[in-house]
């Protein structure tokens, strides 16, 4: 379980994340939603130790993250940020192999190769595994990065806007994979997502942020609600049930 207690992060005088407490349920997909500048990505980066927090505590499986060795943490929690520009030229397989670094420290063993192959199979990258990343399309590259995270074999997987710049087909593909990760492998997935409908259809638990604070949080069915969404986005959003999915109409 990831337990966030009263986290604050300030840039200058502005609190980007302000006294945020949240606990992320295990074995579920949790979505962070909210307008731009709400502090979603910052919160995700703090939980995954990419950014240091000013005050507050983050407990992962009852251990404060700053007291755990970075390498031990890398076997528990994985983070993928939205922009993944690399300065080195790697093939898909080489990239995925990096996911094993916390275990292998660079010397891949038999077991590591097995995990790498499984991750590649899982993301259906077999035909692309020897291609260089700069030869791939945006969706394929995103899948390669997610494969690296899968190879890292962590219980918690944090993704910052994984659907950024992807078309509908690839977005759905990625979300289905995340769902499978939760259902088949029992992972806990946390995503920052802008499209409420993807959050509504695929996530189990939703946390809504605004101005660095949590405005609402709860199971998906409670959160996809006209009143809640008005609080978050300052918009009147119609909600319709289509095939047991709650779809938000926010286009006009």
């Amino acid at each position: 379980m990831v337990e966030v207690q009263e986290i604050t992060k300030k840039y200058g005088n502005k609190a980007v994340v302000d006294q945020v407490s949240v606990s992320i349920p295990k074995g579920k997909i949790t979505s962070f939603i909210g307008p731009n500048g709400a502090g979603k990505s910052t919160l995700l980066s703090i939980v995954s130790r990419l950014i240091t927090k000013d005050t507050g505590e983050v407990h992962i499986d009852n251990e404060e993250i700053s007291s755990v060795k970075s390498n031990a943490l890398a076997k528990k929690i994985a983070i993928l940020k939205q922009s993944n520009h690399l300065n080195v030229r790697l093939t898909v397989k080489e990239l995925v192999s990096f996911g094993r670094f916390p275990y292998s420290q660079g010397r891949l063993k038999k077991e590591d190769h097995r995990f790498i192959q499984e991750a590649i199979d899982y993301m259906e990258l077999n035909e692309l595994e020897d291609k260089y990343l700069d030869e791939l399309s945006g969706g394929q590259r995103q899948r390669a990065f997610i494969a690296m995270v899968i190879a890292q074999d962590t219980e918690y997987i944090l993704l910052d806007e994984p659907l950024n710049n992807l078309d509908m087909k690839h977005s759905v593909q990625i979300m289905k994979v995340l769902k499978r990760l939760v259902n088949e492998l029992g992972k806990t997935v946390v995503i920052v997502i802008h499209d409420v409908n993807f959050a509504s259809v695929y996530s189990d638990y939703i946390v809504a942020l605004k101005n660095g604070k949590i405005v609402h949080q709860g199971p998906k069915d409670d959160m996809i609600d006209k009143k809640v969404l008005r609080d978050v986005y300052d918009m009147d959003i119609q909600i319709q049930d289509i095939d047991q999915c709650k779809i938000c109409l926010y286009f006009n």
């Binding site: 060795k69 970075s70 890398a74 690399l86 080195v88 990096f98 916390p102 420290q105 660079g106 890292q152």
Partner: protein, 315 residues
């Protein structure tokens, strides 16, 4: 396998060049010429590999291929120290005459400077470019201070400073060669365990942290090691950091790999090939009418322009 081939070729070429340099064209009097050539070649090998490796490591941790460690002002600090010693204590003082003492003080000061720069600035800002920017400012400041003192001192004493300002393998600081070797062996042993982190550091800060690297700690340790290496190389032959830029980029083009085990070894070998080959040209073709650093700076400058034009297109 392909990588091992490339490394073998490089080893063969550098050994061949070293052999040519050592044994070809000795008219007689082997006892006198051979030891002199040997120390020179040893100095070339050490400086060359150290500068190459330091540059590759620096470029990896800053994630930028067109930077050199001279950007954090280390070599201008070295010149400043040399000028300062002579300005304050005079050319007959112990710090100016005893190479070992001079060397120890210089290396110490440069390492302390690198640490200060890191602790005062990088710790809080957590931004490599901020560190570099401040480094450039300090570098310029140090150079101006040195020129100021150089203008004031006695012309004869200035000549002593000038000797240290230009890199030259023709007058290697052989007194400190053994001292330098001991320091290098020690730092390389220390550095060894960090090699495996370099591949991951090359992916960038966020991936490195995600993959369990204690980023701040590794960054700090590597900066200190780089500072030591640069000080040693500069003290041995003078400021010659352009070489690093040239060699590291030729290495990336030649090796086409991300694996630092190979990259570091190859960069050291390419550096040796370039320096020993260049020194051969200086000795035998130009008959000592020019120094190697002039040739390197010329070739390096042209290559640097090419890189800027090329990178400009790539981004």
């Amino acid at each position: 396998m392909r990588l091992k081939w490339k490394i073998s070729i490089l080893i063969a070429v550098s050994l061949a060049l070293i052999a040519v340099y050592l044994f070809v064209g000795i008219p007689g009097n082997w006892d006198y010429i051979l030891p002199r050539r040997f120390t020179r070649v040893l100095a070339i090998i050490i400086t060359g590999s150290v500068i190459a490796i330091a540059t590759v490591v620096f470029q990896t941790i800053t994630n930028n291929r067109i930077l050199t460690p001279s950007l954090i002002g280390l070599d201008s600090l070295y010149i400043l120290l040399q000028t300062f010693f002579i300005f304050v204590f005079g050319s007959t003082s112990i710090v100016a005459l005893n190479a070992n003492i001079n060397f120890a003080i210089s290396v110490g000061a440069m390492v302390i400077f690198a640490l200060l720069l890191y602790h005062l600035l990088f710790r809080k800002q957590k931004n490599v470019y901020y560190l570099l920017l401040i480094g450039i400012v300090f570098g310029t400041f140090f150079s101006s201070l040195s020129s100021f003192m150089e203008v004031l001192i006695d012309p004869n004493e200035f000549f002593m400073v000038q000797n240290k300002m230009f890199a030259s393998f023709n007058n290697v600081n052989t007194d400190i060669l053994w001292f330098a070797i001991i320091i290098l062996v020690a730092t390389i042993i220390y550095f060894w365990r960090y090699i495996k982190y370099l591949d991951v550091m090359a992916l960038g800060k966020e991936h490195a942290i995600n993959l369990g690297i204690d980023y701040d700690k590794v960054m700090q340790r590597l900066l200190v090691v780089i500072a030591i290496w640069i000080s040693v190389a500069t003290a041995l032959v003078g400021p010659i950091l352009f070489l690093g830029l040239l060699v590291s980029n030729v290495t990336y083009e030649f090796m086409k790999t991300y694996k630092h085990g190979y990259l570091l070894l190859a960069s050291a070998l390419i550096s040796i090939v370039a320096l020993v080959g260049g020194q051969l040209i200086v000795d035998r073709i130009f008959s000592f009418n020019t120094t190697l650093s002039v040739i390197i700076n010329f070739v390096g400058g042209v290559y640097f322009l090419y890189l800027i034009l090329k990178e400009n297109k790539a981004w």
